[in-house]
Symmetry: C2
Subunit: 226 residues, 2 copies
Amino acid sequence: MSKDDARTRLLNAAGPIFAEKGYRAATVREICETAEVNLASVNYYFGDKETLYVETLQRSHPPAVIKHLPETWPEGTQPAEKLKDYISAMMTELLGVETAPWRVPLMMRELQSPTPAGSALLRKFFGENFSILLRILAEILPEDTPSYKRQQIGLSIIGQCVHYRVAGKIIPLMVSEEEFSEHYKPEQLAEHIAQVMLAALGLGPPLARGDRPSAEVGAAARETHA
Amino acid sequence: MSKDDARTRLLNAAGPIFAEKGYRAATVREICETAEVNLASVNYYFGDKETLYVETLQRSHPPAVIKHLPETWPEGTQPAEKLKDYISAMMTELLGVETAPWRVPLMMRELQSPTPAGSALLRKFFGENFSILLRILAEILPEDTPSYKRQQIGLSIIGQCVHYRVAGKIIPLMVSEEEFSEHYKPEQLAEHIAQVMLAALGLGPPLARGDRPSAEVGAAARETHA
DNA sequence: TTGTCAATCAAACATTTGTTTCATATACTA
DNA sequence: TAGTATATGAAACAAATGTTTGATTGACAA
C-alpha cells in the first residue's frame, strides 16, 4: 500500500481527517503520520495547512448526483420516473458507501462553517445538483408556476434527503433499533421521499385518506386521533 | 451592562462564541475578554474549558418548539391546523431572531460533531419536538399506519424545516437576491412546507395538475392549485 | 481593628501545533 | 565519476492556547 507519491498520499490522508475533525482540529502531524510522510512534507508540497485543505476540498468535488443518473432518459420517460431516479441518486450519494465517504461530510462542514475557498465550491456542488432537479420539476409543474415556488419545492425534496445525513447520528437514537435496521436503508428512504413528493404533486395517491382533496370545504377529519 | 456576576457573564459570552466558531476554535481568551473577566476566571468557576462548554450547552437547551405553540388547542381543532401551527413554530424556532440566536447553531454543531455530553441533550432537544409532531400525525394518518411510516413522514417535515437552517448560507447564492428577500421569510417558508405536506397527506390540493391523484382513480383534485 | 475568605488580577507555565531550518539521502545528468 | 536538483528526515522555532500560580483586593465577621 501507499505506493503513491508523498503528495498524493497526503491528499488521501487529509480528506478523511479533515472530514471527521474539521479544519481546526485536524493536525498536520496526524495527517503526516497517516500518510506516512515526514512532518515537513505539508509545507514542502503545499506551502501551508490551508492550501492542503483547499486542494483536498477541490479534489472532493467532482462526483455528485449526476454520477448515479443515466446520461439521458429514454424518450417518453414520465417526469415522475425521473424524479424517482433523482431522489434515489441523491440518497445514494448522501448515504451510500462510495469510494470516498468523506466527500459529503466535508461539504457538510463547509456548509456550516464556510471558508472563503469553500463557498465557490459549495455553490457549484449544490448548484449543479439543484439545477437538474429544477429541470425535472419544470416538466411536472404548470407553466405558470413562479420560479420561487419551483425552487421551494426543490428545496423541500433536497431538505428531506439531506436531513437523513444531517440528523443521521441521532435518528437511530429516536427510533427503535429494529425499526431503524429494517426501514431506514437508503433505497427505502428514497422510496418514501418519492412517495411523499409525488403525492404532494398530485402524481401519486395521498398518504392519508384525505377527506378534502380540494381547497373548499368537504367533510373534515373526524373521529381520528391517537 | 454586564451587571451580572462573572460566572453568568462567562456563560453569556461563551454561548455565541462557541456557536459561531465551534468548541475548538473558540478560545478562552476571547470568551473572557467578551465577558470582561480575568483570563483565570474560566478555570476558577468551571474548572476547565470543557466544563464551561457543557454548561453552556445545557443552558441552551430549554426553549424549543413548544415555546411557540399554544398549551393546548381548542376542542375540535382540525389536525391540519395543528400541523400548520407546528411547522410555523418550528420555522420560528429555527430561523427567528429570538432572545438567544446561538442556541440553534450550537445544537446544529453538536449534531455534526457530537461530544459525549452533547448526545444526551441532543436526544432530548429533538426528541421532545419530534414526539409532539408524531402525536399530530397520529391524528391524521390511518390507525393501521405502521409507526416507522409515521416517523418517516415526521422526518420529512422536520427535514424540510431544518434544511433552511442547514443550507441557509448558500440558498441566497442560488436564487436571485430579489426572490430571496421576497419569498424566503420564515412565515412564507412555513406556509410552503405546510402546503406541501398537507397535499401529500391528502388534506390539501396537490401542487401540480395531477394526472393520477389516487391509486384507483376516484374523483380527485381538480381545478385547484396555487 | 483585625482576621478570614472568596474574588480578581497579572504573570508565568506547559503543551500543542504550524512552520522553518539545515543536514542527509536519492536520483538523474553532464 | 562528479555534480546538481529533488526529496526526505530530525530537530528546532515561534506562536497560540489551556491552565496554574501567587499576590492583591475587598467585603464581612469576630
